[in-house]
C-alpha cells in the first residue's frame, strides 16, 4: 500500500502538545482562566476540524491505497534497528483520530463548566492537552515504538489526572494504583514488541513490509508458537491498559479523578487503546488462534464479572466504571471472535454513550454538590431535564434498545461470539448474561437518580465537597427545602456542560447507523458503513461465521430477539425492585445478603490481591530487600569504604602537623632516602667511579693545577 504524504498530521499532533506546554508553563503566572481554557480548547478543536479535513482527503483516495503518511524525524537508528517518528493515517486510525479529537473537544468544553474556579485550573487543562497529544501518538504512530510512546504517555496523563486532587491521600493512592498496575501490563507489551522484532525484523505493523503484510504474504514463514506468544504478551499489555481480568482493578479506583477525565480517558479513549492495538495488529491476532481464544474468554469473563459488581454499587461513578470494564470486555470478545471491525465499531459507539453517561453523571454530581452516592439522589428528572434526557438516551443505547448505537454494535458482538468460527456457546452465554446485568444496573441508576421522589442529602451529612468550585451553585441560593437537604434544589448545569451532553446523547441514538448489521440489509454490503470503511485495513484477516450458521438468519433473528427481551426483562426487574422506594435502596441486600456482600465487596478481588501479591511483595521488599540487601549488603559495603578512608585519614592526618619545621625536616629526610634508594637499587645510574676518578686526577695533577693555584 503506497501512502501519500501529508503534513497536516504533524499539525494535528503538535497543537495539543503546544497547548499543554503553554498552559503548563505560563498558567500559574498568568492566572487567567479564560486564556487557559481558550488555548486548551483551541489546541483540541483545531485538530478536531483538521481530522475531518483528513477524513475527506482519505475519502478522495482509492479505496485500497487509503493511507496518509508522514515521517517527522529519524528517531532511533542503531545498526539494523531503524525507528523513525512517523505518523500513519489509514481508515482505522482515522476512526480513532475522529473519536479522540471530537469527543476530546466536547469534553474540554464540558470541563470549562465543570472545573470552573478550581485552584489548579491551568494544571487540569495542561494535563488534558498532554493526554490528547499522547493518545494521538498512540493511534497515529506508524510503528509500535511511537505507539508505545503514546501508550506510556496516556498512562502518565491518566496518573496525573486521577491524582489531580492529590491533597486527598486516597486520590493520590488511586493514581499510584493505576500506574503500577499498568506497569505489569507494559512489561508484557514490551516483551511482545521484542518478540515481534525478532520475528519480523520490523516494528511497523502497517504498509508494505509491515508485520500485517508479511504475515498475509507468507504466514507459513513464521513459527506459529512465537506468533501465539507475541500475541499473548501484547494482550497482557492490553489487559493492563484496557482493564481486563486480571489487571482491571485500577479502573474503578481511577474514578477518583475529575468526572470529565473519567469520561474522556477512562471510558471513551485511553482504555480502548488495547482494542485499537489488536485491530492494528489484526494480522498477528488473525494467525494466533489460541491467543485469540484466550482474548475471547478473558473478554467475555470480564464483561460478566464487572457487570455483576456494577449491580449493587451505590456510587454512580463506580457503577459506570464497572460498566466500562464490562463494555471493554465486550470489545475484546469481538476481537477474540475475529470480528475486528465490530470491536472497533463497539469502541466507537461505546465512546459516544459512555462519554455521555459519564458527563451526565458529572452534571448530576455537580448539581448535588459532589455527592456521588445515588441513595441521596432521586427525582432529578424534574430539576435537570437535559441531563435526564441525554442520560436516558445513553442508557437505552447501552442497554441495547433496538436501533440505538449500543444495540447495533453489541448485538453484532453477541452474534459473533455465538456463531463465529472462533466463537463458542459459553462465550455467548457469558456476554448475554453480561448484557442483562448491563441493562439492570443502568436502569437501576435511572430509578435511583432521575426517577421517583427526590430524597436529597440529609442535614449534616458529611460528603466529599472539598473541591472548591466545580459546581454551578453557591450557598446563597439555599432556600431552605428541609426535605432536600441544606443545599436547595439541584439545578441544571450551564450550557458548556449541556451542549456536549446533547451532542453525545444524539450520537448515542443515531451513531449505530454508521454500521448497520448485515442482517438488516439482507447481507448487502452498504457503501457508507464503518465495516466497509475498515475493510482495506482488515481485508487479510477475515474470520468467517461458522458454516452451519452462515445462512441461518432465523437463528440470528432469534438471538437478537433474545437479547432485546433480556434487556426488557432487566428493565422490568428494576421497575419492580426500585420504583417508588423513597428510603435508602437496600432491596438487594435484604433478599440475598451473602451475594450482595460479595458483589458489594467486588468479589473481594482487591483483598485477594492484597493478601496474595501485595503483602508478600511488601514483606519481601521490606524484610529482604530493605533490611538485608540494602541495609546490610549495600550500606555495609559503602560504610566499609567510608570507614576505611576515615581510619586511614586519622592515621595519615597526624603527619600534617602544620609545623613547618617538621615538614621541612621530613621532606629533606624523604628526599635523602629516595636518593639513597635510587642509588642503592640502581634506579639512577650514578657512576661513582667518575667522581672518584676526578678526585684521584686532582690528586695526581696536584692541588695547584686542579684548583687554579693557591
Amino acid at each position: 500500500m503506497h501512502a501519500e504524504h501529508t503534513s497536516l498530521l504533524a499539525v494535528v499532533i503538535a497543537l495539543p502538545l503546544l497547548g499543554a506546554i503553554f498552559n503548563g508553563l505560563t498558567g500559574r503566572k498568568l492566572k487567567n482562566d479564560t486564556l487557559v481554557h481558550s488555548v486548551a480548547l483551541a489546541a483540541v478543536a483545531i485538530p478536531a476540524a483538521l481530522a475531518w479535513v483528513l477524513l475527506f482527503q482519505l475519502l478522495g483516495m482509492d479505496e485500497h491505497g487509503r493511507a496518509l503518511h508522514q515521517t517527522l524525524f529519524p528517531w532511533i537508528h542503531v545498526g539494523s534497528f531503524q525507528i523513525d517518528f512517523g505518523l500513519w493515517l489509514d481508515p482505522l486510525s482515522a476512526v480513532m483520530l475522529l473519536i479522540i479529537t471530537n469527543i476530546g473537544a466536547l469534553i474540554h468544553l464540558y470541563s470549562i463548566g465543570y472545573m470552573k474556579g478550581d485552584k489548579s485550573y491551568y494544571r487540569y487543562f495542561a494535563y488534558l492537552n498532554l493526554f490528547i497529544f499522547a493518545m494521538l501518538c498512540l493511534v497515529l504512530g506508524d510503528n509500535l515504538v511511537v505507539l508505545f510512546l503514546g501508550w506510556e504517555g496516556v498512562g502518565l496523563a491518566s496518573y496525573l489526572l486521577i491524582g489531580f486532587w492529590f491533597e486527598d491521600r486516597e486520590n493520590a493512592k488511586a493514581g499510584k494504583k493505576a500506574f503500577i498496575t499498568n506497569r505489569v501490563g507494559d512489561f508484557g507489551f514490551a516483551l511482545g514488541m521484542f518478540a515481534l522484532f525478532v520475528m519480523f525484523g520490523t516494528l511497523t505493523p502497517v504498509g508494505d513490509g509491515g508485520i500485517n503484510a508479511q504475515l498475509a504474504a507468507n504466514p507459513a514463514a513464521f513459527d506459529s508458537t512465537w506468533i501465539e506468544v507475541a500475541a499473548l504478551l501484547l494482550f497482557v499489555g492490553a489487559c493492563g491498559k484496557s482493564a481486563q481480568i486480571p489487571l482491571y482493578v485500577w479502573l474503578p479506583d481511577a474514578m477518583a479523578g475529575p468526572t470529565p477525565v473519567s469520561a474522556l480517558i477512562h471510558a471513551a479513549t485511553m482504555v480502548t487503546a488495547g482494542v485499537y492495538m489488536i485491530a492494528r495488529l489484526n494480522g498477528l491476532f488473525f494467525h494466533a488462534e489460541i491467543a485469540s481464544s484466550i482474548v475471547l474468554y478473558i473478554g467475555a469473563a470480564t464483561a460478566l464479572f464487572a457487570a455483576t459488581i456494577g449491580l449493587v454499587q451505590n456510587d454512580i461513578k463506580k457503577v459506570l466504571a464497572y460498566s466500562t470494564v464490562s463494555q471493554l470486555g465486550f470489545m475484546f470478545t469481538a476481537m477474540g471472535a475475529g470480528a475486528y471491525a465490530i470491536g472497533v465499531f463497539h469502541l466507537m459507539t461505546h465512546a459516544f454513550f459512555k462519554a455521555c453517561l459519564f458527563l451526565g453523571s458529572g452534571s448530576v454530581i455537580a448539581a448535588m454538590h459532589h455527592e456521588q452516592d445515588m441513595r441521596f439522589y432521586g427525582g432529578l428528572k424534574k430539576f435537570m431535564p437535559i441531563t435526564h434526557a441525554t442520560f436516558f438516551a445513553a442508557t437505552l443505547a447501552i442497554a441495547g434498545f433496538p436501533f440505538l448505537a449500543g444495540f447495533m454494535s453489541k448485538d453484532e458482538i453477541l452474534w459473533w461470539a455465538f456463531a463465529s468460527e472462533r466463537g463458542s456457546t459459553l462465550a455467548y452465554v457469558l456476554v448475554l448474561a453480561a448484557a442483562f446485568c448491563t441493562a439492570f444496573y443502568m436502569f437501576r441508576i435511572m430509578w435511583m437518580t432521575f426517577w421517583g421522589e427526590h430524597r436529597g442529602v440529609p442535614e449534616g451529612h458529611g460528603h466529599g465537597d472539598e473541591h472548591e468550585g466545580a459546581d454551578g451553585h453557591d450557598h446563597a441560593d439555599d432556600h431552605g427545602h428541609g426535605d432536600h437537604g441544606h443545599h436547595g434544589e439541584p439545578k441544571e448545569s450551564p450550557w458548556t456542560m449541556t451542549v456536549p451532553l446533547m451532542v453525545l446523547g444524539a450520537l448515542s441514538v443515531v451513531g449505530g447507523f454508521l454500521s448497520i448489521p448485515p442482517i438488516f440489509t439482507g447481507h448487502e454490503s452498504i457503501h457508507f458503513s464503518l465495516h466497509h470503511w475498515l475493510h482495506p485495513v482488515l481485508a487479510n484477516s477475515e474470520v468467517h461465521i461458522a458454516e452451519h450458521y452462515a445462512h441461518a438468519s432465523s437463528v440470528e433473528w432469534g438471538l437478537m430477539a433474545l437479547s432485546v427481551s433480556v434487556g426488557a426483562l432487566a428493565f422490568f426487574a428494576t421497575w419492580v425492585l426500585y420504583k417508588g422506594k423513597d428510603k435508602l435502596y437496600d432491596v438487594f441486600a435484604a433478599r440475598a445478603p451473602r451475594l450482595h456482600d460479595a458483589l458489594w465487596n467486588k468479589w473481594f478481588v482487591d483483598e485477594i490481591y492484597e493478601a496474595t501479591l501485595i503483602k508478600p511483595l511488601v514483606l519481601f521488599s521490606r524484610e529482604g530487600l530493605w533490611r538485608i540487601i540494602d541495609e546490610v549488603v549495600i550500606d555495609g559495603v559503602v560504610n566499609l569504604v567510608a570507614d576505611g578512608g576515615k581510619v586511614t585519614a586519622l592515621l595519615v592526618g597526624r603527619v600534617h602537623s602544620g609545623d613547618l619545621r617538621a615538614s621541612a625536616g621530613v621532606m629533606v629526610l624523604g628526599l635523602a632516602l629516595v636518593m639513597a634508594a635510587a642509588v642503592v637499587f640502581g634506579v639512577v645510574d650514578v657512576d661513582l667511579s667518575a667522581v672518584t676518578d676526578l678526585f684521584s686526577e686532582a690528586d695526581a695533577s696536584g692541588d695547584g693545577a686542579a684548583m687554579g693555584g693557591e
Partner: protein
C-alpha cells in the same frame, strides 16, 4: 685547595641550611637558611666548573642567583604580611595546614 675540601665545605654549608630550616623558629632565619642552601650549591657548581672547564655550570650559578633574589623578594613580602596578621614571625604561629 683540593676539590674534596671544597665539596665538603659546600656539603657542610648545605647541611647548616637544612638544619636552619628544620630547626629555627624565626621565619627570617629560615629564609636566610634557604639562601645558605642555594649558595652551598653554587659553591659546588663553581668548584666543579673550575675543574672540568666550560660555561654550563656558570650559567647555572647565575640562574640560581636570580632565583634566590626573586625568592628573597617574594619571601620577604610574605613574611611582612604574615607579621601583620599575627604580630609574630615565629614558625609556630602558623599552623593552618594542620591535618
Amino acid at each position: 685547595m683540593p676539590l674534596e675540601h671544597l665539596l665538603l665545605f659546600s656539603f657542610l654549608l648545605f647541611t647548616m641550611g637544612v638544619a636552619g630550616v628544620a630547626l629555627r623558629k624565626n621565619l627570617l632565619v629560615v629564609l636566610m637558611s634557604v639562601e645558605l642552601m642555594l649558595n652551598a650549591v653554587n659553591l659546588a657548581f663553581v668548584g666543579v666548573a673550575r675543574l672540568i672547564g666550560g660555561h654550563d655550570a656558570h650559567v647555572m650559578v647565575l640562574m640560581i642567583y636570580v632565583v634566590a633574589a626573586v625568592e628573597v623578594a617574594i619571601g620577604m613580602a610574605i613574611v611582612v604580611n604574615m607579621f601583620r596578621q599575627k604580630d609574630s614571625i615565629s614558625v609556630d604561629s602558623f599552623d593552618a595546614m594542620r591535618g
